[in-house]
């Protein structure tokens, strides 16, 4: 499959700064670091059972990024009949970088931006690994 892509899907949380970091990291990967080999889609489409979206997650590798322990991204992907190859939680990265706490939902602040970069770097590498294994 020529244009095979890894789907990086963040959670849709709008009440938590950690969810904003998850989204920002996703955009960094699919727009700046791996534009050719990765993409995203709206999680709500999976919640609503949109066939086109469900098909994408079933036929391609998926990496989810959660803003909290409720794991909505992973659960909605699984509800569409697919299993994420890798599931990240922003706060697992926070455990490794205690001083990089995101400040607020609308502006994650300097710490949040550094955390976003660290996550995006790791997810970009994971995209490379997953692309190899169609």
């Amino acid at each position: 499959m020529g244009n095979e892509k890894v789907y990086v899907i963040p959670c849709s949380g709008i009440g938590k700064a950690t969810a904003s970091v998850g989204r920002d990291a996703t955009y960094k990967v699919i727009e700046d670091k791996r534009p050719e080999t990765s993409d995203t889609l709206c999680l709500s489409l999976l919640t609503m059972g949109d066939e086109e979206a469900a098909d994408k997650v079933r036929k391609n590798k998926v990496i989810t990024i959660e803003g909290c322990a409720k794991d909505c991204a992973r659960k909605n992907v699984e509800a569409s009949g697919a299993t994420p190859a890798i599931s990240h939680r922003v706060h697992d990265f926070l455990k490794e970088h205690r001083d990089l706490k995101p400040e607020s939902v609308l502006d994650v602040g300097e710490g949040g931006r550094q955390l976003t970069e660290i996550m995006a770097e790791q997810v970009a590498d994971e995209v490379d690994d997953l692309i190899g294994k169609a």
């Binding site: 899907i9 963040p10 959670c11 849709s12 949380g13 709008i14 009440g15 989204r23 920002d24 996703t26 955009y27 960094k28 727009e31 993409d39 995203t40 889609l41 709206c42 999680l43 709500s44 489409l45 999976l46 919640t47 609503m48 949109d50 409720k70 794991d71 909505c72 991204a73 659960k75 909605n76 509800a79 939902v105 609308l106």
Partner: protein, 145 residues
């Protein structure tokens, strides 16, 4: 849980819209309305939580009028409200609004700039109009207005 006679809150459900610029506008507009324009009346709801979360989100969405804010014609917020929590009180399609406002520039989902910020403000005002209409129609009881 005791049944509220008349709800004191309005639920606003924004589409999650991660892949669309209008999704970013939707989320930020709802946040703006909840935090600054109508705090205490507006409660933001999270769509994927309808399916993934415990019943708290869905039960609450059934007890209050819900305004759906969609970013594109897929209308996930409106459909989700119909499916999970009862009829939609009122509904906004941001892409439609932007066309009406004659905005043709390419919008960014990841780096919202001045234009996106302006549109977010205008969408927020549209949401506030719908909230105030619900209050005026007496569908929501507001104690300190």
């Amino acid at each position: 849980m005791e049944m509220e006679v008349r709800p004191t809150k309005v639920g606003v459900l924004s589409c999650s819209g991660e892949s669309e610029a209008e999704g970013t506008i939707a989320r930020n507009a709802v946040r703006l309305v909840m935090e600054e324009y109508r705090p205490g009346i507006v409660v933001s709801l999270c769509l994927p939580l309808y399916l993934a979360g415990d019943s708290g989100e869905r039960d609450f969405a059934r007890r209050v009028p819900v305004i759906a804010v969609d970013g594109c014609d897929k209308a996930c917020a409106r459909l989700a409200t119909d499916k999970y929590s009862g009829d939609v009180e009122s509904w906004i399609d941001i892409r439609d609004l932007i066309n009406q406002w004659g905005v043709t520039e390419q919008l960014s989902r990841s780096h919202p700039g001045k234009l996106e910020q302006e549109l977010t403000e205008r969408v927020a005002q549209e949401i506030v109009k719908l909230v105030d209409r619900l209050v005026a129609e007496g569908k929501v009881e507001v104690d300190n207005q």
